[in-house]
Symmetry: C2
Subunit: 311 residues, 2 copies
């Protein structure tokens, strides 16, 4: 079989806070030469350092798979991303501000580059192929160390120049608020897997194996663990209800590490959401089907769209 | 001048909780024969009673302006409205559930009917002609006795089957929460003009002239009045920041009775929003330019769109 441009693999890079995942992704979504390397952190030139590393990865993959030269690349990053302008507007963890990713990447890679947001790209794959595909008004939340999200309205991604979907930074009631405080904190500080482990350690002095460890202890009758898990559920439910009231969200897809708790997360979350809402339509709460490679697949889909448009 | 169908007036009905406003609206937005009558409330047949009254109003207006027969009508109502299906899904104040407004209205009026939500229709006029027209990601809030809103994303109205824009029912921290309570209430219970007057009366026993009276007292050094005004600002700021974090909202247009406070509302609101947000883009807070007739104009625009589509 001769591979046409539409079938030939594209380069795909999922740039995370600690690792870069890279590979060649063919039209069927098969990843060739998948590798994971540490993300270079250079405070003086954070965007350039990442792109230099991607250029090396391109050379490695080209040497490994000389028979299928990639005609386009997809790069996804966290933070605030203006995919239309091709700019990494801001990343707290990786350090860039207004870095022209598309232009700088095309210089180094020598092929067209589709630059976009990591969670929005992964969520688009989930929303196209996963459990929420029948819904038009959807929020996809990735709840791990932090919380990121992609928002869809009327079937389309809500981007707002990269500023939409900052659910992790939305205000929620602060379960640790003392009398007289403002009483609010951000969702990520209570509802993330990272926050669950951290709050349990802070309150008990006991280190556990992340949010999963806190859930296990709660199951064994540890009241502190149960309260901290319930606080996380409350905070997630609070933010889900904001989405419902503001945008009429029909379905919320939950992925990331915390979603591994399955119904131990989703069941209390449904009860809590139902208790907060009044006349409003109840959103479906759905566990993500996305695997670890959703980012790579999303970046590849973005790159493939470039090839499609060029033909 | 001979009026073509595009120029001829359309019938316009703005059905509110207490009054119906009706008139013929020409292509320039001039309202002819404007009248205001009480909204009939019939618990047994709430939708039918309203439509029977609209048919009488049509007959009156036709008798008054026989030279310009209306070729279409626009009807707007509060509550949850599915404008695509032509159904009034729910109105707490007016009492209907899943009433087929478009079909029943066309039976009674004998002309094509555009049925839609009151605030979304008025907000579309504001967003098309007012201070937010340069922005794509906009929330228009009408803050009066209650709080209603219309949400725009990427320049398009977010409808979600009529369930979007329920900002008045979004959760906010409850300033009256005692220790151990859940600590939340809904925006409308703290941030509306109605709530400001009600909370002041409840705490002081003094009746004042609505939210305006509370603001006047705050200016005269009444600390309770100042605190209740500040609570409303806090609650509005909280919800505005939810919109910013979820949808990347660029501009918030505030109309309704409370907006008459002008900078006495907008200035503290800007300060509060700025204090809550971190790396996020600050939304422009803009006072609505809409007058009392925005609903009638919005309903007329909806009706005119029907005529345009039919030609």
């Amino acid at each position: 079989m001769v591979l046409g441009a539409a079938e030939s693999p594209v380069l795909s890079f999922d740039v995370g806070g600690t690792d870069i995942k890279a590979g060649l992704v063919d039209a069927r979504g098969t990843v060739l030469g998948m590798r994971r390397v540490p993300t270079p952190l250079d405070p003086a030139r954070p965007g350039e350092a990442v792109l230099d590393r991607l250029a090396e990865l391109k050379t490695e993959l080209a040497a490994e798979f000389p028979e299928v030269p990639a005609k386009a690349a997809g790069i996804i990053v966290p933070g605030i991303v203006d995919s239309v302008a091709g700019v990494g507007v801001y990343s707290a963890n990786l350090g860039w501000r207004n870095f022209p990713f598309t232009a700088e990447a095309e210089k180094r890679l020598g092929i067209p580059v589709a630059f976009d947001h990591d969670v929005r790209s992964a969520a688009a794959v989930e929303h196209t192929f996963g459990g929420s595909k029948e819904f038009n008004d959807v929020v996809v939340m990735v709840v791990g160390t932090g919380i990121a999200a992609a928002v869809f309205s009327g079937g389309k991604a809500v981007t707002a120049g990269g500023f939409a979907g900052e659910l992790g930074h939305a205000q929620v009631p602060d379960p640790d608020a003392g009398p007289g405080s403002t009483g609010s904190t951000i969702l990520e500080a209570v509802g993330s897997a990272g926050a669950i482990a951290k709050r349990y350690y802070r309150a008990s002095g006991n280190r556990v194996n992340g949010a999963r460890g806190v859930l296990l202890r709660a199951g064994d009758g540890d009241e502190l663990a149960a309260r901290i898990w319930a606080d996380a559920v409350d905070a997630l439910a609070f933010t889900i209800c904001q989405c419902v009231n503001i945008m009429g969200t029909e379905a919320v897809v939950i992925g990331g590490g915390l979603a591994e708790a399955g119904d131990q997360l989703l069941e209390p979350l449904r009860t809590k959401v139902d208790g907060i809402l009044d006349f409003q339509r109840r959103p479906q709460l759905i566990r993500a089907e996305l695997g670890q490679d959703a980012g790579l697949l999303g970046a590849a889909l973005n790159a493939r769209a470039l090839l499609g448009a060029a033909q």
